[in-house]
Amino acid sequence: MLVWSRPGRIVLWVLFALIFGVLFLAPLAVILLSSLADQWNGVLPNGLTTEHYADVVKGAAWNSVKASLITGFLASALALVSGTWAALSLRLQGDALKQLLGLLFFIPSAVPSVSVGLGLLVAFSHPPLLLNGTVAIVMIAHFVLISAFTFGNVSAGLARLSPDFEQVASSLGARPAYRLWHVTLPLLAPYLVAAFGLSFALSMGELGATVMVYPPGWVTLPVSIFSLTDRGDIFAGAALTMILVVATLVLLLGLERVTARATGS
């Protein structure tokens, strides 16, 4: 305890509550409130309604929930396979190459998402690689942007893994493929699940690259929310944002529980 006097501590806690309330709590609370607001002319809404949610579920916006979930799932799955593969095979490289390649796998996370989208537009707008206007280009954009995070999470997991298990397995005569499948990957499982959850969440909220490349039939949630609010339909935008937030949190909490149960902690 740094501050011993009770009044001193209370002053600090009030300061904390103020910062936390203004910066973090108020935005979430006001999004929830506005997604339920009937009319909002005064300080508080005049009444509450679930109408915005009903509109959103009935309308075209529901398609964007599906588009986001499918894009997030496929891009995260691909990023998980590719990131795990990269992290595992990087262990076979010499030190210099390992460092260089490790850096290259991280670079996509440093490049602005709009530029990633622009690059894909420039690269894949002509035959033989004509992907512009297809759903695939959205998946690719999301994959590129989240691949570095998956790679980073799995690498961190590998670094923390005790080498003993693998050595014992191979000294007991476990074939390499058997060892990977029955020893290394199960030990990595918590990191794989966490990597998948984080990539899924990032993909669900991705906007910069998606607005550059999305075709008319594949409008993801963030793009849909932007066009709603841009048209002035901010209450529907808030309702759709709440759906995005809840979907993301349910996903993350669900995966956390799965990991906790698997590792017995």
């Binding site: 300080v43 990269a86 076979l92």
Partner: protein, 285 residues
Amino acid sequence: MSEAVAIRAPAIRREPGKFWIVPPAALLALLFFYPLALIVRQAFLDDSGVANVAEIIRVLHSRFFLNALINTVTISVAATAGCLIVGLVLALILAFVPFPGSGFIARLIDTFIALPTFLVTLAFTFLYGSAGMLNTGLMEAFSLPLPPVDFLYSTWGVVLAEVTVYTPFILRPLLAAFSLVDRGQIEAASVLGARPFRIVRQVILPAAVPALIAGGSLCLLLTVNEFGIVLFIGAKGVITLPLLIYGKAIQESAYQVACIIAVVNIALSLGLFGLYRFAAGRLGV
């Protein structure tokens, strides 16, 4: 993939294992580095494919580019400074003056990392917009004819939104660093009569410097690249580099101009990424 680890263990059969890196590396090369190289190439070619270097000079001297560059740097530096201050205050209280439920609150702030950035901007519209709660409240209370608070549609609106979104990125490494600070040292210092402010300055802050530098450079990088917050605020005067690239490419179909600006933006980001890696690697965060 299964053979990847396989070939590693026996030293003599080490060589073939090196090729397992090729598939993921090739995928990344095709989908990321090849498009990146084409952006650089396109920066030298006009939209009909003819070399046009004069356009680069025109864009780099244009008012819209310089304004966006200045805006981007100003917002990024101001937001990072804000994140460092707010993050430090919150982390100090959470770690050294804990209250019931402070662990839960720390985790709650942490989940903000996973939420879309534009959520905060949308919320700020309801809170601080011209018809938002704060302005309506003030107008009703003091019978004002016009909304008194209008920082939202300026640089400061973007900065405040980015402070909210990126403070968790400072808080996380700071709390990790604070958990390693020896509590006995603090108690000893305070028994010997050191005032809290002095303990923070002489005992706690030195331990926090690596986390502050690494977190701060990460914040600089993320705020330079931020797109959603600026797009959602939609203020005419607040155009940053990513927003300018979007406008030129999608709204004006001026691909060469977009690529020239993108090259500058990418170079800036990679420089900050280098700074972050250097800081994080050197300080062992």
